[in-house]
């Protein structure tokens, strides 16, 4: 290596690599650790997860590692990601690393946290009422969760409903929300301070804006709560907001189909869903305007909370 090469490499190392230390984060119920030798990766991760940093988590569910390797000078600079000791991805661009880490974290939760019945859903909390927004990608779960959080709900998660078989409660996993381009304008219209922009490329979602709940407001993160309102949203551009009650048995079959790990629970999973759904209002929601739909859901949940309180 020439002296010039060495100088450039030294400059890049000073700007980038950290000492490879490991930090722990308690993201709601999920313990995460991140080891990295790249300061930029740490900074990007901490932009979303700094409030969750703890000295040590009781149990690490997602053990993430992002190691910068190769040389910018030689053109083989890369970020090697591992999750729970397994090779995850090799990423060429730094701005792609945070979203890969989040997906690695999702993957780890799906495979390393079987104690909860996991359903593909976003969840928020309105007073004593847990709201489950269950659906496939593109149904508008994250957008509704973000808008409801901006309107005053507490945020639990945008990807998982983690149902605890012992308490029948939803456990929080308040990871940063990944908002697709179509949702960014909606969120920005509700908050002049956020000014979100699509800054990342997320796996399977295209360009996204990242919205950590603590950046909405300090108390925007929810706690374990009993689900009382189960919603199956479907977004259709231009559609009027329309809700339809569905029977709890129909809701059960839908939640089972949307579960990531039903086969880890089987009969106990059915039993859990039955017990949860006996206490829930279940609806189908079609909407084209997320603000209007979110307000309607907030009103429904608040009414349910008042009924529960009387």
């Amino acid at each position: 290596m020439t002296a010039l090469n060495a100088a450039v490499e030294a400059l890049l190392v000073a700007a980038g690599p950290a000492d490879g230390t490991c930090e722990d984060y308690q993201v709601g119920a999920i313990g995460v650790s991140l080891r990295t030798n790249c300061r930029a990766v740490r900074r990007a991760f901490e932009w979303s997860y700094a409030p969750y940093r703890v000295h040590q988590v009781a149990r690490v569910v997602a053990r993430l590692e992002a190691r910068v390797a190769g040389s910018w000078w030689r053109g083989d600079r890369r970020y090697e990601l591992t999750v729970n000791g397994r090779p995850g991805a090799t990423v060429r661009r730094l701005d792609h690393v945070p979203s890969h880490l989040e997906w690695a974290c999702n993957w780890a939760v799906a495979f390393a946290a079987p104690e909860w019945l996991q359903v593909h859903a976003a969840c928020v909390q309105i007073g004593p009422v847990g709201v489950v927004l269950a659906g496939r990608p593109g149904s508008g779960k994250t957008t509704l969760a973000a808008v409801m959080t901006l309107l005053g709900a507490a945020y639990l998660c945008d990807e998982f409903a983690l149902l605890d078989p012992a308490t029948h409660r939803l456990e929080p996993f308040p990871k940063a929300m990944n908002l697709k381009e179509a949702s960014i304008a909606v969120v920005n219209s509700l908050s002049s301070g956020l000014r979100l922009r699509a800054s990342r490329t997320a796996c399977g979602k295209g360009r996204v804006a990242v919205l950590p709940p603590h950046r909405v407001r300090a108390d925007a993160i929810g706690r374990a709560v009993e689900p009382r309102l189960v919603v199956f949203p479907s977004f259709r551009p231009g559609a009027a907001t329309r809700t339809r009650s569905i029977l709890p048995a129909e809701a059960l079959l839908r939640l089972e189909r949307l579960s990531f790990n039903f086969l880890a629970h089987r009969a106990a999973g059915v039993d859990l869903l039955v017990r949860v759904l006996r206490e829930c209002t279940c609806i189908e929601l079609e909407y084209g305007d997320a603000r209007r739909a979110a307000r309607e859901l907030m009103a429904l949940a608040s009414a349910d909370g008042r009924r529960a309180g009387t």
């Binding site: 029977l247 048995a249 129909e250 059960l252 079959l253 009969a267 059915v270 039993d271 039955v274």
Partner: protein
């Protein structure tokens, strides 16, 4: 099966009973609203029985024959004999097909 009248809910004990001749395996059965959720651990299949099918299943599990079930349904749902029996036979055929009733309970 048409009806706008509510069925009498069966107790959990009724629901858990095994019909005579049933093959011994444990379904997991739950009442949810007016309906039943049945989980078959052999196939990891969850089934939903609407309230009419749920009533037929409960009565069959209690050992009643289709004719007796039809008579009970006729009283509860206010339908005529022929229709009640037809609906019960259709429901029991389907329940047997799903292995929720043993074949011998058909007649």
């Amino acid at each position: 099966m048409p009806s706008n009248r509510r069925c009498e809910p069966a107790s959990e004990a009724d629901v858990a009973a095994q019909p005579a001749g049933a093959t011994a395996h444990a379904w997991s059965v739950h009442e949810l609203g007016d309906e039943l959720i049945v989980f078959d651990p052999r196939t990891d299949t969850t089934l939903r029985l609407n309230r009419t099918a749920a009533r037929v299943w409960r009565l069959a599990m209690a050992g009643l024959r289709p004719v007796q079930i039809a008579e009970q349904m006729r009283r509860e749902f206010d339908v005529d004999d022929a229709r009640a029996l037809g609906d019960v036979l259709t429901a029991t055929d389907r329940l047997i097909e799903l292995q929720l009733l043993p074949g011998g309970s058909q007649r």
